[in-house]
Symmetry: D3
Subunit: 165 residues, 6 copies
């Protein structure tokens, strides 16, 4: 900061919070994919697949919620930069529980951007909001669902290079 800041001292370090300065970063194409799962009872799962939940079209609504959630990322997560996503895509896969495994819905989100910062938080937010929406749509049938294994699957663009799990 400028010289008029000379006398300014952080007050005993409480609550330090540093938003990374991306002013000088290059604008490059960036992309991230995240995923997560929600497990549910066989009744709730069957109704989801048959599209018979009373609150409506479960996956359709979760998809929209996830897309809208990705756009709200910097409003939800304090140190995220506002950015202009050029693409958000949500995909769902139903995984029948066999041999005692749980029935699960897999949620996957892809976010893209031509910008100065990565978009993995946007992809993770899309997955989380979609999962919460699935929970809301099915909770009358199964209030004991569980959201799990939310993580970044792959990331492209930016200084840290490409990687995938």
């Amino acid at each position: 900061m400028q010289k008029q800041n000379a006398g300014l001292t952080h007050v005993n370090g409480h609550g330090k919070a540093n938003m990374v300065d991306v002013t000088d970063k290059q604008i490059t194409q960036r992309q991230a994919v995240a995923e997560g799962y929600i497990s549910m009872s066989t009744q709730a799962f069957t109704m989801l697949k048959d599209n018979t939940h009373a609150k409506g079209d479960v996956l359709s609504i979760a998809r929209i919620a996830g897309i809208q959630g990705a756009k709200k990322c910097s409003d939800l997560i304090p140190l995220c930069h506002p950015l202009m996503l050029s693409k958000v895509q949500l995909d769902f896969q139903t995984i029948d529980g066999v041999n005692g495994d749980e029935n699960k819905v897999r949620i996957q989100a892809l976010c893209k951007l031509a910008g100065q910062t990565g978009v993995e938080m946007e992809a993770l937010t899309a997955v989380s909001v979609a999962a919460l929406t699935l929970f809301d749509m099915c909770k009358a049938v199964d209030p004991h669902m569980q959201i799990s294994d939310i993580k970044v699957l792959s990331k492209q663009g930016g200084k840290s290079g490409d990687w995938s799990c």
Copy 2:
């Protein structure tokens, strides 16, 4: 998407929603103009022109609401991209009803952007929110107003070229 998506199948197509991928589109200057109308009783219309509605300065407040509404477009419309409008302008025209025609206020919005996607949805949103605000300001006098003929008048920039109605 990446190869880890290989096993992923859309679940029976319900609720498909595709946000157009604009990552590779060029940043160009874009502009759109939209318009709409609200018709009202002679009493409400006269009070609007005389600026005597009890809730206040009708057109002033509608103008601000329209500008703010344009900025919220991607929050309201699920598949719109977030973008950074460089200009929003709202104009109003009062049209006296003659020969049995209705009294109308014409609302026109101009939006501009240097970006990757068109701004007609932003202009239409500005018109719609301004019209709703006009309704709210005048509804104590005339609860039977009608908002009509909201459309895009012209569009410039982008792949589809320039056009006007």
Copy 3:
């Protein structure tokens, strides 16, 4: 206001804006129904009915957008009170154009509340945002659609009593 306001004068009346004081109003059950229409080309209309628009499931996404829009009413319209909707419902009807009439989608929204103020602006906002979303979903096929005839159909509860068009 209080006596310390004694010396305060409105500055030349510019921009007066009065949010109605509802502090003393009773909490009653209130309900409003609004409707609106969007007209479109036969191609866009057929694709909507066949659910083949490239951006996805047109009515599904418009429905969610309308519900979410109703909740944002007081954020969009400056003098609307914040309130807690207890029900929002969107319904769509496709109306084939015969004898040269236009093809139309009819959008109807119902809002309910136990509160101190009417909910017609929320119902109108739901209709408007749903109509804008229909526009966004179909505009690649028909950029010349028109949104029309947005009005309040009926209102129940509150001081002004029940009425319908």
Copy 4:
């Protein structure tokens, strides 16, 4: 709805979405507790406990994000009712990984309301947003963290009675 709806037919059921009508529900005290976990590498975990992450005071910022997230629940989840939380509380617990288990942070959220609808979605949203914020704060050190086991622990008030896992 009213009789003017008589001719209205749902268009082929796509995208049905029913916001539960809570207009006639009694206002009662309601409470919900939700929890979730984020697992991370020993390095990231140690830095979190020592409060040495470069982006700042991890738990402090996640706590605020979780509280703010709970308030945004009805904006994020399409069919949630807007409501006025009377209390939101976030608690964190660090759990050292022993015998090859992973290091984890446990996030717990309590939401309270005197209202017409349950608050478990608000508590789940608080947990999810706090978990995403923890991810954002620590991802420079460990980009492979995982958010898991988000569920409702207990619920009090309302028609379905009290229960806990």
Copy 5:
């Protein structure tokens, strides 16, 4: 919290943040008045009074911004409860600088609510956002304006009783 919280320990106290629990508080009528000032050069002040600033109708726009700002209070201030304001009113007074005093605009905001918590933060937020908007509208003419003396003037309702400065 419940007994399942028994093993939970606050992690070293960092970032504690307690939203006051108002669940059991009575719903009473509450009101608060706040004020603040912005001082500006004679040129900017004269243009404000003559309504000749290039960006438009300064006080009109600041008034709307202040009303909208009051509604956003709980979104801006982390530990504020969401609430449903029943009245927001903004008043402005121009005070000519005499004898070397500065020219000032006085901003006063009144907020009302029938609810469980006081509304002084809403009134202060309305004043602050109106002041910021005045700054934005006039800054092309005077970038050295100063916003000052924002405080609560009076408060009515609630446990702490009525008081005024």
Copy 6:
């Protein structure tokens, strides 16, 4: 605007509001620093320094609120352009009142951007929201605090050149 606007006349100038057109402005690095103060009683001030306020970690929470507030600037201030801040930083300094002076907390905010418009409104908004949050956190101890001397300290980049107070 376009030629179809030919017949359009501003309706008697009420509520004019011009968002500056920045479409043709160059993207340059821009930076602004703003500051403000809040004065409080010795008891509230001592508790702030000792971090013993009942609502929690005062400066930590104000810092986050300020950062989030900066991102919301264009939503709060009607004619501000939406933009993508690349850096927001908040700093606090406690200034003991000596010789009868008041105890004060100094709040300073830095905002950065590579964009088409200045960021002083964002820096001022960050300071204002942080000050309001400090007020909220300490008001149980001192309801008579005062927020003052909010102004721009320096500005860099853009057509008007660099300057500092």
